[in-house]
């Protein structure tokens, strides 16, 4: 038992698993702990939303915060990409919070020390959307907000 303990510790630290554990703990994936559900189906923007998005005539820069293992992130990303396809004024940057925590900190997607993913930030207003619950309506509000 003692030998197993020592060998496991050595291998664990050598493989930097302690850091892996810390990075898992430092990111709050909203669907992973049951704060919301990760839908399996692709999102589809409603016709009304499409009309509103197409009518936007000013440049808007979005930042999308994600993690490789976040289950809700692909849904959010797919919806943001649909928005991008509709309007060339809207640009987007994807940020892996495990790679660039400093950017997440700068954008304010950290709550009580946890980086919350998925998160969409409108750069000019600093407004943030966490998670995917009612995402379409919240995304519209984010895009419609005045600078």
């Amino acid at each position: 038992m003692g030998l197993a303990l020592i060998v496991s510790f050595i291998l664990g630290f050598q493989l930097r698993q302690d850091q892996q554990a810390q990075s898992i703990g430092a990111v709050l994936c909203t669907s992973c702990v049951g704060i919301e559900e990760a839908p399996h189906a692709e999102p589809t923007l409603s016709v009304a939303s499409r009309v509103v998005i197409e009518a936007i005539d000013q440049p808007i820069e979005l930042e999308f915060f994600t993690a490789a293992w976040c289950h809700a992130c692909p849904f959010a990303k797919a919806m943001v990409q649909q928005v991008l396809e509709l309007n060339a004024f809207i640009s987007y940057r994807e940020i892996d919070v495990e790679v660039d925590r400093a950017l997440a900190e700068e954008a304010g997607v950290i709550r009580s020390g946890r980086t919350v993913v998925p998160a969409v930030v409108r750069v000019d207003t600093g407004e943030i959307i966490f998670g995917i619950e009612d995402l379409e309506a919240r995304l519209l509000r984010l895009l419609e907000a005045e600078e």
């Binding site: 496991s8 493989l15 703990g25 704060i35 709550r111």
Partner: protein, 255 residues
Amino acid sequence: MKIRFARRMGQSFGLILGLFGATGIGMTHLIFPGLHCYACPWAVTICPIGLAQNLIVFGTVPYYWIAMIIAYGLAAGRGFCGWFCPFGTLNDLLAFRKVKIREIVSYSKFVVLGATLLGAWIFADTVFCKLCPAASLEASIPYLFMGVAKVNRPFLIHMGTLAGTLVGMVLIARFWCRYLCPMGALLSLFNRVSFLRLKLDTNRCSNCGVCASECPMGLEPHIDYDNHNCIKCGRCVEGCQLSALSLGFSLKGKE
């Protein structure tokens, strides 16, 4: 009285460590020696069960996790349940009905542990976390007030499991620790070899059974002091007027 005071100190320390993030310290590399949600806004340690599921999803051989579990198991076994775990402390606070444990049913926590690990592998997801009552209490509710969580289906499922567990705790002392806790299942594997040990002096024991009436886990220490379910809380030691039971650190075979 001494044991009770020391245990209250240990439980307070567990609670303080569990919520130490309130000081502004972020997540550390430490694995918590009990059931405490790492998604808790004030957690500075990682939940061993949550981490195990994540590592299974990643396909990592979890050496660091194994090392920490062995270290905790060898140090105190289920002593962490009785002396440290905040969710165990909640069980303690609601332990009004000390009923005898159903030994065979107590193995259900191994089923929960197995299902948790298997679920992570099959669904590539942290399934247990979505049902865990500790997560309900320590993550879902705080995040609702912080505007991150909403009252939706997952939240209601969390509240359902929390309510069910709380009712169980009131009806059966240490209900969660006895029958459902996967971390308790893991630590119980080390209970008989851990340094923190409950010892029985059979020459002093009169088989009066007072220890059994004191035990929150519903065990019979005068018959089976080495039970894998024992959380080493020391209630039986305090209750024994003949000082037949004692609790202390020693190596196996050197008592």
